[in-house]
């Protein structure tokens, strides 16, 4: 295996929205930047084909008082996550968000509709609208270009597999080339993790189609796993979310739908909308993702997204928004099937469980490990969380590195050798299971033991079984080529995170959100305002309750 060493000030792991913004900002401030991206930066990540909604605070639209905006925002969508982040992070985010909007506009991402800021979707009628409608189809090429022209070095087809250093600070990372037999050793004074949402922990609704999901298959939470292994704090791994949308064809895009969720008798299934509305999509699909599944299992379904009755202008707007949100494939499929949204209600369904565990991050995008920064879905959510905290992280990393000496290569040798051995083990085995077998075993273990209903006995049995499977993964799984090797390394990360899901779920002795315990069916008020932090101590995950930072 060839080994290549790359020296830099800031290593950005993941060439997504967050990573690119971190790179751009750090370059502006003079730091050397390398972006290591598992796929191809211009075309990778959940944002690759575009998005259409950017959460932000614009004084000229929302009024001059940010505190009033925040107060109203905390009454809206996903406020549970905002509450867990704490007021400092939320305030910093929203305060900075308009600057990011203006930068994006300057760089060529259309952030206005007909010359005006237009807020649409993800809001309840009568409440503050906080998502700016924008056209993000070309956001990845545009942001990649901004990074490259500032001199950021993009290394595509590189999967970073572990961080170097320890809980006292990062000193770099190790990566594998996803196509050639090459190991990369990054000597970096600081690292930014932006590897996005975690998929593949639970079986998706059509398990045989790995790629049929609203987030790319390659988003295996690598950043979170590496953060955990280097000793950083994570939180909320036991907390779950589900998404919902088109039945069978799993896509994102809630605010895009100008329609009403109706049952077979055309009755709205939620209480928020009775007629399609361009400015307010049917919030029932955000408030109660499981409504579609419940109707199905009760025999009351199907539930449809019904866009009948919308104007031609709204229909046009909807189709364009679908494309801006990266859903051209849906438009093509509708064409293939002869589906006309003005005439044909389309079925919606509930998608699979996801862990919404995140890396603990403060308002400076710092993790609990020195020199390690994060942003985007790793620590917040949505495009705006990625763009804003990527930017913030880049700024702080560029400042931080000024006082950090360059890494002593010799000190990394033993860690590098261990990782090299770990990778080679998958390559050198002659026979055994493959990555897909291991991933499936993981998925049904999580679904069966840490699924919709949990309990002490089930969680303990599940964790015990998981650890046995983990041994099999590390000792018997074979990578038959480079592509499979990358998949094996992703599954290693997924297993580490599954262990944290079980650890957190065992410790959280209550029911809250989609974490439901049959042995603790109530929500414990004593745990309000707290997060469950997990950290590696002596090689094992240890969970500890902590107040949300004020």
């Amino acid at each position: 295996m060839e080994i290549e060493t790359v020296g830099t000030d800031l290593l950005v792991v993941g060439g997504g929205i967050a990573g690119l913004m971190a790179a751009i900002r750090a370059r502006d401030l003079g730091a050397r930047v390398v972006i290591a991206e598992k796929g191809a930066t211009k075309y990778s990540g959940a944002a690759r084909a575009g998005n259409d909604h950017f959460m932000c605070y614009i004084p000229e639209v929302h009024g001059p008082d940010l505190d009033i905006f925040i107060r109203d925002r905390m009454l809206g969508q996903r406020s549970d996550i905002l509450a867990a982040l704490g007021p400092k992070v939320v305030r910093t985010w929203l305060e900075k968000s308009y600057d990011i909007v203006k930068l994006w506009e300057e760089w060529g991402i259309p952030m206005k509709q007909e010359g005006k800021y237009d807020f649409q979707g993800h809001a309840f009628p009568g409440r503050v609208k906080t998502y700016l409608k924008y056209q993000g189809k070309n956001q990845k090429p545009i942001l990649s270009e901004q990074a490259v022209k500032r001199g950021a070095k993009i290394m595509d087809r590189v999967m970073v597999i572990d961080l170097l250093g320890g809980s006292d600070g990062v000193t770099g990372a190790v990566g594998v080339d996803t196509r050639q037999d090459r190991l990369l050793v990054f000597e970096a004074r600081s690292v930014f993790l932006g590897t996005g949402i975690i998929t593949r922990l639970y079986p998706n609704i059509i398990p045989a189609l790995w790629g049929n999901n609203n987030h790319p298959f390659t988003l295996s939470g690598d950043g979170r796993a590496m953060a955990y292994r280097v000793g950083a704090e994570l939180f909320g791994m036991e907390m779950m979310a589900r998404h919902a949308g088109l039945k069978n064809y799993i896509r994102s895009g809630q605010g895009t739908w100008i329609g009403v969720c109706r049952d077979p008798e055309d009755r709205p299934v939620g209480k928020y909308l009775t007629e399609p509305n361009r400015y307010y999509h049917d919030m029932i699909m955000e408030v109660d993702k499981q409504i579609f599944e419940r109707y199905q299992t009760a025999g009351l379904g199907p539930v449809y997204m019904d866009c009948r009755g919308i104007s031609d202008a709204d229909h046009d707007h909807l189709l364009h928004a679908l494309e801006d949100e990266g859903n051209r494939s849906v438009l093509e499929h509708f064409k293939e099937e002869g589906i006309n949204l003005k005439r044909n209600p389309v079925e919606f369904c509930t998608y699979e469980m996801r862990s919404i565990g995140r890396i603990v991050m403060n308002e400076k995008a710092e993790t609990s490990v020195k020199g390690l920064y994060t942003g985007g879905e790793e620590s917040t959510f949505s495009i705006s969380g990625a763009a804003t905290f990527g930017w913030i992280a880049g700024g702080h990393a560029a400042e931080y590195i000024k006082a950090v000496p360059s890494t002593d290569t010799a000190s990394l040798k033993s860690q590098v050798d261990e990782l090299k051995g770990f990778v080679e083990a998958f390559q050198n085995r002659k026979q055994g299971s493959d990555w897909a077998d291991a991933n499936r075993a993981l998925q049904h273990t999580l679904a069966d033991y840490a699924g919709p209903v949990r309990s002490q006995t089930m969680l303990e049995a599940g964790l015990r079984h998981l650890m046995r499977l983990k041994e099999k993964l590390h000792d018997t799984v074979v990578a038959r080529d480079r592509w499979e090797l990358v998949r094996c390394l992703e599954v290693v990360n997924l297993f580490d995170m599954a262990e944290l899901v079980f650890t957190g779920a065992l410790e959280r002795k209550e029911s809250r959100g989609l974490h439901r315990r049959s042995d603790y069916p109530y929500t414990d008020p004593l745990l309000n305002g707290k997060i469950l932090v997990i950290k590696k101590v002596d090689g094992r995950p240890v969970a500890e309750w902590r107040d949300v930072p004020r």
């Binding site: 990540g45 084909a49 196509r179 790629g211 049929n212 298959f217």
Partner: protein, 70 residues
């Protein structure tokens, strides 16, 4: 299963191979028709279709992904 390459139109430029983040075309050789090695992980992002200079790629929809409607 996605994607499908029209052999008569494809010029083997390798753009789709460069674009695909999931490396669905892994193992394709320079100057040769791309191989669809891993259709099962296709994310249906349409970027290979968009970027193909010859319009030689079609994304197929697996039957299991067909959207029901009335």
């Amino acid at each position: 299963m996605p994607p499908a390459i029209e052999h008569e139109i494809c010029t083997a430029c390798g753009t789709c191979v460069d674009v695909c983040a999931e490396d669905v075309f892994f193992g394709s050789k320079d100057g040769e028709l791309p191989v669809v090695s891993h259709p099962e992980v296709c994310f249906h992002c349409y970027l290979c279709v968009n970027e193909c200079p010859s319009e030689a790629i079609r994304l197929t929809t697996p039957m299991a992904m067909t959207v029901p409607y009335k």
